[in-house]
């Protein structure tokens, strides 16, 4: 099983429990097709300054990450049937502009859409 940022598959992520997710060295966010936050890893919580329990259930692109609510991220999840792409991006983690790599994952083999965040 590969667990690197660029290799790990959506199916692998889907099979992991919270503890396993938290052990990964990059942030992970899992969203339902209508944008509700279902998975939120400890690493991502640390970067954003938020605990998992305050984020689960929120509308991710409206309440937590408006910076990704555009044609470069959110719209792609709507438009493209399958995605596995890494892009350079700037997030506003704790309101500080932070250059990151994002890996966007969407596929038929797993139910959630994943955003992997590497600083």
């Amino acid at each position: 099983m590969t667990a690197s940022f660029s290799e790990i598959s959506g199916s692998t992520l889907e099979g992991m429990n919270d503890e396993a997710l938290d052990s990964l060295p990059f942030g992970i966010v899992g969203l339902t097709p209508d944008g509700v936050t279902k998975r939120y890893s400890a690493r991502e919580g640390e970067l954003a300054g938020l605990r998992r329990e305050t984020v689960i259930g929120t509308d991710y692109f409206d309440e937590i990450a408006q910076c990704m609510n555009n044609f470069m991220v959110a719209q792609r999840f709507e438009d493209e049937p399958e995605i596995d792409d890494i892009i350079s991006y700037v997030l506003t983690l704790k309101m500080r502009p932070t250059p990151v790599k994002l890996r966007l994952l969407k596929g038929n083999a797993f139910s959630l859409r994943y955003i992997l965040i590497q600083r």
């Binding site: 954003a48 300054g49 938020l50 605990r51 305050t54 409206d62 309440e63 937590i64 990450a65 408006q66 910076c67 990704m68 609510n69 555009n70 044609f71 470069m72 350079s88 991006y89 700037v90 997030l91 506003t92 704790k94 309101m95 500080r96 502009p97 250059p99």
Partner: protein, 439 residues
Amino acid sequence: MNKASMEQPHQDEYEHLLHFLYACPIGLIDMTHEGTIELMTPLASNLLMPLATDGVLTNLLTALEDAAPELHSLIDDFTPRRGTICEHHRIHVDPSSQANADERRVLSCTVIKLNPNRYVVALTDVSAQVRQERRLREAETWFGSLLEGVKEFGVASLGTDGRIQAVNSTLVDRTGFAEQTLTDSPVAILVEADPADAASKMERRLEQAERDGWQISEGWARRSNGERYWCQSLIAVCAERSPDNGSFTRGYTFILREVARRDNDMLELKRLLRTDHLTGAYNRGAFFDAAEKAFLKCQKAARPLSMITLDIDHFKLINDTYGHGVGDEVLRSVSNACKAAVRPHDIFARIGGEEFAILLPDTTLEESRRVAERVRQAIATAPISVGEAVLVVTASFGCATGPCLTGGAAAILAASDAALYEAKRTGRNRIAWAPARTA
């Protein structure tokens, strides 16, 4: 109190604050004097990210360099220690070359200086509001012009497919297309001078009308004889309830009017085309255009139309004696004297080498003779310096009045020319006139 219980409320408050800022519906930025972004809300990043072509969003002034280069100097020129630098300053994000005004994005930007190296910026997307304002302005223009001249509008009713169902007579007159040709044709043939993309352009316009109830645009069109003209056209959705079964018949109303192109280059070009380069008077072509129009107008209103032709006396002698430079100076001087002496609504033109003409709408022969006399005196009493010497030039005048003369504006001009010849023949520096005949 132990340490853990102190920290827990603190952590909760901090997290609450972060949640508040993450969800904040305004782009807020904290930056230095140079534009380096210290803090920003996610919405600020959302609005700016498409502008950061290098994908790095560390400096606001760099990100807005193309869209709002003025921000730099606004900030630099602001000397007080603190205060509002700009409020709701509009930034057009997309280059103006991007054709469709309805898709352009506009940001509203407020910049507040807190101290010499700390600035707070608020950004909001006001594209929808700007679109709304533009449409209101267009509507105002239209409704204003509707009141001015209802007869000037061509009207067609269209089916849902954009094909013409019926037209009014003005539309037939203005476009030169026969009613049979227009019926069942796509409306695009009336407004698009370039048939290559006419269909798709019209499709977009109909879509927009469907969405907003109406759509206006301005552009080139072509008459049936191939002549190009500039026009405005309005497409409005109409829905009529059938009296029989209460069902809706949908379609569009299309309104077309020819307008002067509001384009400075065009106006300047037009002016150049109508003006005599040497004297600044109207040229021959412009004079005949104006004369034909004035003739029709006066004929319709049963009002007199007069013309005066004048010719500088012994101009050839002046030219031969003093040279063309002096000749030109004489033409300019005479022209200036005429322009100053005619009435504001008269049209003064140079129609030949040393021959000028004045068009006097709504003017009797008597009145035109008075104007000619005033002009004659103005010329004769305006000496022209030529080096040490002073030249006094005179001119001869012919007056004629229509439109009871048959043959249009040209006939009046011919009659005044004949009178001018008479004035020359009987001694120059005088006025002669064609007898006012009745038809």
